[in-house]
């Protein structure tokens, strides 16, 4: 197993943002993570990457317990991530953003990655000057350039129009999936269906279901999580 979560629980004050989640990921696999806003997807990512501390449970990455490690330590072991709202070093160039800091920098490899994400021509532009689509691709390039074992992608198509979304899906399929394992959060079922063999439904911090994407979208739990359940009194948001 590449990544294994056992009973992972994260609590903010009185709220359990992630409760007792178990998850396993094979090397090179791709897993979709779905669920309504606030269901704990981003918190789960934060816990894996070491930004928030798990209250209970265990995170194992490549056979080592990383539950209590510092974020930079986890990153060095080969976990990279992108953000729901793009997060780049705005005042640095594309190349400076993408080139990794920890490993001896192989500039040619970095340029190849920029090439594969259609950013090579923009290598000397400041990150702040890029379009949103370019910035999203730069986040992916930055993650890839570190040659990680796992990339956590937090809504890589958020804010993109249909064409850009399609382009991004193609880029992830061609450049990211062959390189490493991916966990992907998304609201667009099409993106998950196109990229992931398996998908997990999170609701209110709990793992409700794990299935093949098509099955998951058809499940009652999926509709309940996103739309609420229908009972005799009409639609109830309360679950």
């Amino acid at each position: 197993m590449l990544l294994q979560l056992e009973g992972l629980t994260v609590r903010f004050g009185g709220v359990e943002a992630v409760s007792a989640v178990d998850l396993a990921l094979e090397p090179g696999a791709s897993l979709g993570l779905m669920g309504p806003n606030g269901c704990g997807k981003t918190t789960l990512f934060n816990a894996i990457s070491g930004i928030v501390r798990a209250e209970r449970g265990r995170i194992e990455f490549r056979g080592a317990d990383i539950t209590r490690l510092a974020a930079h330590d986890i990153a060095r072991r080969g976990v990279a991530r992108t953000f729901q709202t793009v997060r780049l070093f705005d005042r640095m160039t594309v190349l400076e953003n993408a080139a990794p800091t920890r490993f001896p920098v192989d500039l040619r490899a970095v340029m190849e990655i920029l090439e594969s994400l259609k950013l090579a021509g923009r290598r000397d532009a400041l990150a702040a000057e890029l379009s949103l689509g370019e910035q999203r691709r730069l986040e992916v390039a930055r993650a890839l350039a570190r040659a990680p074992h796992l990339i956590l992608m937090d809504e890589p198509t958020a804010g993109l129009n249909p064409e850009e979304t399609e382009e991004m899906v193609a880029l992830i399929r061609n450049a990211v999936l062959p390189a490493c394992a991916v966990i992907l959060t998304e609201h667009k079922p099409g993106v998950i269906a196109a990229l992931c063999r398996a998908a997990v439904l999170l609701d209110q911090g709990r793992k409700v279901l794990q299935a093949v994407p098509g099955e998951l979208f058809a499940s009652a739990a999926f509709h309940a999580a996103y739309l609420g359940t229908v009972d005799r009194n009409g639609i109830s948001q309360d679950k």
Binding site: H72, A75, R76, R91, E96
Partner: protein, 313 residues
């Protein structure tokens, strides 16, 4: 060159060290109000080494820099997990503690029949190495600028290095830097020690230029000035802080243009500049623009040369 000019240039060179010291921490994302502490450490240590222990100048300056680095690292360990205002206040508190400690510090030794050494509030005089060894002000100035040039070259080298990028990443967005595998606390600690060394070196040079220092030289005014130099000159390049010093000391203090109300002018300049250009004159955008202009120019020149050689053929 007349003596006044040499004095001014020496001063600009030396104050640049403490301005660069504050700049290193700014790069790392921390605002220090206390770099004058390590400047003072260097001044006292190097001064005592030559005046009391009769060392030559070079090892004395080195010891000043090392003591600056060591103290900064120790203080950094206690304070670097603080950020923003808390860190700024902690560094200020430390610097003021140290200044008062120097007010209380007396260590006078009989050297050739006269008492030499720090004498608390009365200061520390007779740091006469330059006179005793017949080093002229112009020679000393040359030495100061050679050291400054070395430091600037070092900055340029580090800026291109992996550490330079880690430093700027830690400064720009510590959390994002952590997620790229940068240990922000460790990077900041190294930066703090380097900043301490720079300030310590500058302090040693300062003490030998003036031959007399007193704790009052190292008050909060010096600390915040050093910080302001980087913010005026610009955070995009290592030349920014030096430009800031040049504007303040070179233009305002020395030209005597604003005699009597220099602070009103300088203060107003800083305040307005912070509104118009929050990251200083030479900010990242300006530097990026200049460097792409230079690249473009170089490219155009190369193309012309190629063109000409083709035509000649």
């Amino acid at each position: 060159m007349d003596d006044h000019l040499v004095g001014v240039l020496c001063n600009i060179g030396i104050i640049s060290f403490v301005a660069l010291s504050a700049y290193v921490l700014l790069l790392a994302g921390e605002v220090s109000f206390g770099q004058q502490a390590f400047f003072a450490m260097g001044a006292y240590a190097a001064g005592m080494a030559t005046a009391v222990l009769r060392w030559p100048l070079a090892p004395a300056l080195l010891v000043g820099a090392l003591i600056g680095a060591l103290t900064a690292a120790i203080v950094g360990r206690a304070t670097l997990r603080l950020t923003g205002l808390y860190f700024a206040m902690a560094t200020l508190a430390f610097a003021e503690m140290l200044r008062i400690a120097f007010e209380l510090f007396v260590w006078q030794v009989d050297v050739d029949g006269s008492l030499v050494g720090p004498k608390g509030t009365d200061g520390f005089g007779d740091i006469r190495y330059l006179f005793e060894n017949e080093i002229t002000p112009a020679q000393y100035m040359a030495g100061v600028y050679v050291l400054l040039a070395l430091v600037l070259a070092g900055f340029a080298a580090i800026d291109r290095s992996r550490f330079g990028r880690m430093l700027r990443q830690a400064g720009a967005d510590p959390l994002l830097a952590e997620l790229q595998g940068v240990s922000v606390v460790r990077v900041r600690l190294v930066a703090a020690a380097a900043a301490g060394a720079l300030a310590g070196l500058g302090g040693g040079l300062y003490a030998h230029l003036l031959t007399y220092v007193e704790p009052g030289n190292f008050n909060i005014m010096l600390g915040v000035h050093s910080l302001a130099y980087g913010l005026i000159g610009g955070l995009g390049t290592v030349l920014g802080p030096v430009l800031g010093v040049l504007i303040d000391i070179g233009l305002l203090e020395s030209s005597r243009l604003f005699e009597g109300y220099r602070m009103i002018v300088f203060g107003g300049l800083v305040a307005v500049l912070l509104i118009v250009r929050p990251r200083g004159l030479l900010d990242e955008r300006a530097v990026h623009w200049i460097s792409s202009c230079v690249k473009g120019l170089a490219g155009a020149l190369a193309a012309r040369r190629l063109d000409r050689s083709l035509r000649r053929r």
